[in-house]
Amino acid sequence: MPAAILRMLRRDRWALAGAVTVTVIGFVAVFATLLTTIAGHDPYTYDSAALDPATGQPAGVLGGISGDHWFGVEPLTGRDLFAIVVHGTRTSFFIGIASTVVSVVLGVLVGAAAGYLGGWTDRIVTWAVDVFLGFPYLVFMIAISMVAPPEIPKPLLLIVVIGFFGWPGIARIVRAQTLTLKQRNFVAAARTLGAGPWHVFRTELLPNLWAPIIVVATLSVPSRIGLEAALSFLGVGVPVPTPSWGRSISEAIQWVGTDPMLLIFPGLALFLTTWGFNVFGDGLRDALDPKSGVR
């Protein structure tokens, strides 16, 4: 499989661009503190010196972009926008990937169990998937975030809630794949030797499920990052003052007339991340799909 991915990256320029983007943004997320130290600002400190004392607007052109403040500053507070976007990357990336892991683990276990065991297990799972896919989950998530006790850390709550609502799509794909694998004789061979369901899952099904799982997971990361941004935009995401793209965008809306750069930088970061994951995921699908003939 790694060989197939390398071959794909060499052939498919767009997927390569996506992979590079994702890697760069991943680095930014991991080394956020280091980067902002180099830039000389953290996302929390107010800096009235960077503001125009008369209006509270950033001093200078383009939202106060300067050698000191690379992306400019926030109006009224003077906080460094570069530091906010960089630290927001960490929040978005972490929540996006962790919630994907939650959905993948749930989806694979439930989907494979439904496909392999069949019968009532399958009926209940398919029924639950249909219900969850039609569920107004955004409303539900907002409600949960409102009523959840404050002792639970918000990022953890977001990961669990976003992850939990993501499993049905993955379970559906894994179930379909398991149903076709079950027809293959190597699964029958293991069963006739007395192998139990867990053994069959681990040694026969899972190695053949990796390719679709990786593709679906990669393609679902951006929608989760978007969901976190949406929740933060609506004010039920990560709490103030933790930087988040969604809340940055939400706050920038009221300044868009006077300071458009405030909207453009976090928006661009969100766009680049979702674009990178999508293009890379598409490339992966082409490379790992058995139907494309490359294995």
């Binding site: 293959r184 004789n185 190597f186 029958a188 061979a189 293991a190 069963r191 006739t192 030797l193 007395g194 192998a195 053994h199 040694t203 026969e204 190695p207 053949n208 990796w210 294995r295």
Partner: protein
């Protein structure tokens, strides 16, 4: 003057040559059989004539049909050739027909594709065609899923001859069919050739079919023509070494004679085994016995219940009536770990070796699986046992870290056999183990089977639709028809008593044109 003349045709897929410098010709009313094993380029050659190869193929050479070079035709001209001057019969009749239209409508469609005639004229022609291929006119309204494989192949043939083509290309037309049905389809093709005066280009790997119907034979190997000539000469005195090998590996019924073995205690006993699917009785009151070191051949056509019996023994078919006793233990009463223990005493070899090996597991991992499940062998002791098993099936230990797609069909089946004998089983069940393989590979796999069986002395249930293969290996034979054992014993092929067995034996093709033609008349 010849109807079709193929002159030094070569086909490449990218840099890989598939067909090299192939020439042959065909006159009206003649049946030319192109034979060869998989990968010999026989199908590629035939498909190139109608421009049906994928876009990556590049074709050189010339192929004249009635004086026109087929390779120089434009796509529009080629479409008027297909189905009009040349009819095509496929291997899988079920996939060649559209499941949502009636077969009648599809024949009408085939007629109207090349003729400007009214709907009623086309319907009349379709009725006539149904009669021509020996189907009742009432079947006009039937959908493909309502018909048997043999009937569907008749429909496909009716569509192929709808516009009275001068050439009929038949690509393995009987491979997916049972022997008795195969005999009927071959009789139909012979009859049509006589009535329509069409030439038939028959592509097949089955020497029995060649002997039955061909006038002349082209033998292909590795993309080249090895030898060609009249059918009687090729079979009586093949000139080339490859042709001789190919003919030698064909096994015919009546070529094996072996003394009956003395059987002591039975390893496997089935007592009035029945399996139902809803109302359908797949297996109906079957009682069998296999002794230690004995090979019981189970023969029957598709749908006779052979594989269901194997499934009941191995646990793939969960519910059945009657009792299955393995080495004195009633399997149906066992649960949990004692059931798992019994499973380890049964080895299973599947028909399609590619599907029976996990594509993402190495050969060593596949062979080690039963050992990991049932023994405490680990580490280097396990590796040694796997190497010993690879050696037992005559595979190099260097293959242990390969993946199934890197192996040939014969090698894969050897891996399947190694896995089945890993635990030194009491009973080995082989479900059509050679029917997905080429004849020369089949012969070697059967040799391996026989030597393993003699050294390991397992009882063996050998399931096959191929009577000749079963006769080679089996000490005793049971014939299955519609879920019932109609006849069993050592005499079944030499002196069949049951009318169904007699039909089966009579339909089995013999790879000898003289014998085959004598049987027909």
């Amino acid at each position: 003057m010849s109807l079709l003349s193929v002159e030094s045709v070569s086909v490449d897929f990218g840099a890989t040559p598939a067909v090299r410098d192939v020439s042959f010709s065909l006159t009206a009313g003649e049946v030319l059989a192109v034979v060869g094993e998989s990968g010999s380029g026989k199908t590629v050659t035939a498909m190139s004539l109608l421009g049906l190869l994928p876009g990556t193929a590049s074709v050189r050479g010339k192929a004249f049909l009635n004086g026109r070079d087929l390779y120089s035709l434009s796509p529009t001209e080629l479409r008027s050739v297909r189905g009009n001057e040349v009819g095509l019969v496929f291997q899988e009749p079920m996939s060649a027909l559209n499941p949502v239209f009636t077969v009648g409508d599809q024949i009408v469609e085939a007629v109207r594709a090349h003729r400007s005639c009214s709907k009623s004229e086309a319907r009349a022609r379709a009725h006539e065609l149904l009669g021509l291929v020996g189907l009742p006119v009432a079947r006009f309204r039937a959908y493909p899923h309502e018909m048997s494989g043999g009937q569907l192949q008749r429909v496909v043939i009716a569509m192929a001859v709808a516009n009275e083509p001068s050439l009929l290309i038949a690509d393995e037309p009987t491979t997916a069919l049972d022997v008795t049905v195969q005999a009927e389809i071959l009789a139909l093709l012979r009859d049509l050739r006589g009535r329509l005066d069409a030439a038939i280009l028959l592509i097949t790997h089955d020497m029995g079919v060649v002997a039955d119907i061909a006038d002349r034979v082209v033998v292909m190997h590795d993309g080249r023509v090895v030898e060609q000539g009249p059918v009687f000469e090729i079979f009586a005195s093949p000139q080339e070494e490859y042709t001789r090998q190919l003919l030698a590996s064909v096994i015919s019924l009546g070529s094996a004679a072996r003394p009956a073995r003395v059987v002591d205690t039975p390893v496997l006993r089935l007592d009035s085994l029945s399996v139902h699917y809803k109302k359908f009785r797949a297996v109906d009151d079957v009682s069998l016995e296999i002794g230690r070191g004995e090979v019981l051949g189970l023969v029957g056509e598709s749908g006779s219940g052979k594989s269901t019996i194997a499934g009941a023994i191995t646990g793939l078919v969960p519910s059945y009536d009657g009792t299955i006793t393995l080495s004195g233990q009633d399997i149906s009463s066992l649960r949990g770990s004692s059931l798992k223990k019994v499973r380890g005493r049964i080895g299973l070899v599947f028909q399609d070796p590619l599907s029976s090996l996990n594509p993402r597991a190495t050969i060593a991992r596949s062979i080690a699986q039963p050992l990991l499940l049932h023994t405490s062998l680990r580490g280097s002791a396990l590796d040694q046992r796997v190497d010993a098993l690879l050696d037992a099936v005559q595979l190099s230990a260097a293959l242990r870290s390969r993946y199934p797609h890197e192996l040939s069909g014969g090698q894969r089946q050897r891996v399947g056999i190694a896995r089945a004998i890993a635990l030194d089983p009491d009973l080995l069940i082989a479900d059509e183990p050679t029917s997905a393989l080429d004849v020369s590979v089949q012969a070697r796999i059967l040799d391996l089977f026989r030597s393993l069986q003699e050294s390991l002395k397992f009882a063996c249930l050998f399931i096959s639709h191929d009577l000749a293969v079963v006769e080679q290996l089996a000490d005793r034979v049971a014939v299955l028809h519609s879920g019932r054992v109609v006849e069993q014993g050592t005499h079944v092929f030499s002196a069949p008593a049951d009318p169904y067995t007699q039909r089966l034996v009579a339909a089995a093709p013999v790879a000898d044109p003289v014998v085959q033609r004598a049987r027909r008349s």
